[in-house]
């Protein structure tokens, strides 16, 4: 096991075993790659017994946060596998919700219960499945009752989690169009063409409130 034979007779006396252990420890620590017995022997003073030093070292690190491991024909120090969780950094990254998702969410909040077709009609573009899935997964929207119209489409409503996140008591607390305008969030020019949706005074979140008066005039058809 030892390679002492390779060294031949030495005029120097090998350092004490405890010292050899320290040496092996330092070499393994500083080495970028696992170290073979041969490499270790080449670095340690003539007459050293790297195998014995490693055996001592292995024993010393038993049960510690770091251990001496054999990697193929070489040796390396590695963190104990049960502490692997320390080597992971959990990072929570907060990203802005996409524009499509925010708009879809806004429409559902203001018009709930809203069908997909309604959302698309208001946004003027089709709503991707992914957007709704994301909002469902975030638990900001959930499925409401089916609309009693041909095809019985599903409706979407906002959840309690949504209200909690946005600090709302209910969806009715969302500022109306007039307030949005007063707050400078809406331009004062009238929308091109009458648009479906709750007018200033239209209750938010009615149950499929009558918006029929204007339906068919705008994009909703």
């Amino acid at each position: 096991m030892t390679e002492r034979g390779d060294m031949g007779e030495s005029p120097f006396e090998a350092p004490p075993m405890a010292e050899q252990e320290r040496m092996a420890e330092a070499v393994l620590f500083a080495s970028a790659a696992p170290v073979t017995l041969k490499e270790l022997a080449a670095r340690m003073p003539v007459g050293s017994d790297p195998a014995a030093a490693l055996a001592l070292l292995k024993q010393r690190y038993e049960g510690r946060g770091v251990r001496l491991m054999k990697v193929g024909e070489a040796w390396a120090m590695r963190t104990a596998p049960d502490l692997g969780f320390l080597m992971r950094k959990e990072e929570t990254e907060t990203r802005k919700l996409s524009r499509a998702a925010v708009e879809t969410l806004a429409i559902i909040a203001y018009h709930q219960p809203a069908t997909r077709a309604e959302i698309e009609a208001i946004r003027g573009v089709s709503v991707s499945r992914g957007t709704l899935d994301q909002l469902l997964e975030m638990e900001w929207i959930r499925l409401g009752r089916r609309r009693m119209t041909p095809g019985r489409p599903v409706t979407f409503v906002v959840t309690q989690a949504f209200l909690d996140h946005f600090g709302l008591e209910s969806a009715r607390d969302l500022p109306g169009i007039r307030e949005l305008r007063a707050a400078g969030l809406l331009e004062s020019r009238p929308p091109p063409g009458a648009m479906p949706g709750p007018a200033d005074d239209a209750g938010v979140g009615g149950d499929g409130a009558e918006e029929a008066g204007e339906a068919g005039e705008g994009d909703m058809a």
């Binding site: 330092a26 620590f29 500083a30 080495s31 970028a32 790659a33 390396a76 590695r78 963190t79 080597m87 992971r88 950094k89 959990e90 990072e91 929570t92 990254e93 907060t94 990203r95 802005k96 919700l97 996409s98 524009r99 998702a101 925010v102 708009e103 969410l105 806004a106 429409i107 909040a109 203001y110 208001i122 946004r123 003027g124 573009v125 994301q134 975030m138 996140h165 946005f166 600090g167 709302l168 969302l174 500022p175 169009i177 949005l180 707050a183 969030l185 809406l186 331009e187 020019r189 929308p191 091109p192 063409g193 009458a194 648009m195 949706g197 068919g216 005039e217 058809a221």
Partner: protein, 271 residues
Amino acid sequence: MAEIRTLFEDGGSGEKPQLAVRPVAETLVVDVDGFEGPLDVLLTLSRTQKVDLRRISVLELARQYLAFVERAEAMRIELAADYLVMAAWLAFLKSRLLLPPEPDADGPSGEALAAHLAFQLERLQAMRDAAARLMARDQLGREVFARGCPETVTRRRHVTHSATLLDLMQAYARIRTRDDFRPLVIDRDAVYSMEQALDRLRGLIAHAGGWARLESYMPKGLWRTDPARRRSAVASGFAASLELVREGDAEIRQSDAFAPIEIRRKATGDD
């Protein structure tokens, strides 16, 4: 300040003297490019006195420095300005130290100036010694080593999406005002399609009794006020009325050229 070295192109020996074995006095001129400023020259000159820097003879030092400058001038070596400034100052100091102080002389005494120069030299020497001691320490990557194969910390990323109430309100406001943002939508704002007109007309005349002007069934809002839209709405409305007649659902009439076109549901028709 200009590089000292470039000022001694003709006098430089080409070899930089070692700090420890730098020749003094006699060979100063040729090796002057190895010095880092007048203070460095003074510090080197002071070594000839072989005394503690605190006990140094500033007067003697001033003499040596002035001799050094004279030599440089004799050899037509152009000295950097700060060497000359130091020479002038040392000449002044020398006179202050040699002559008895004038009773009404203002400014610091020659002794105070000399003391400060001694302090500067001592401080520079102290910093040089400190630098040497610092560099003699065990250094990382030379005597001391860091972990050779650091384990990388894997980062696990959780992405949380968030939006503020303001985002929500702005998004809604944006939709409601139909501002510039209309992605991937073919802009057909100004076009009132035949299908739209048909739907509208069909729905409306079903409830209407008698003859009514076709324009009265036209959509409201900008479809009436905006010329481009109005044109489209009129055209589609007229085409739709013809279509309804063709289908047998409506009748139209016009009393005269350019007179209003009237439309009504065909009494017998049902839908």
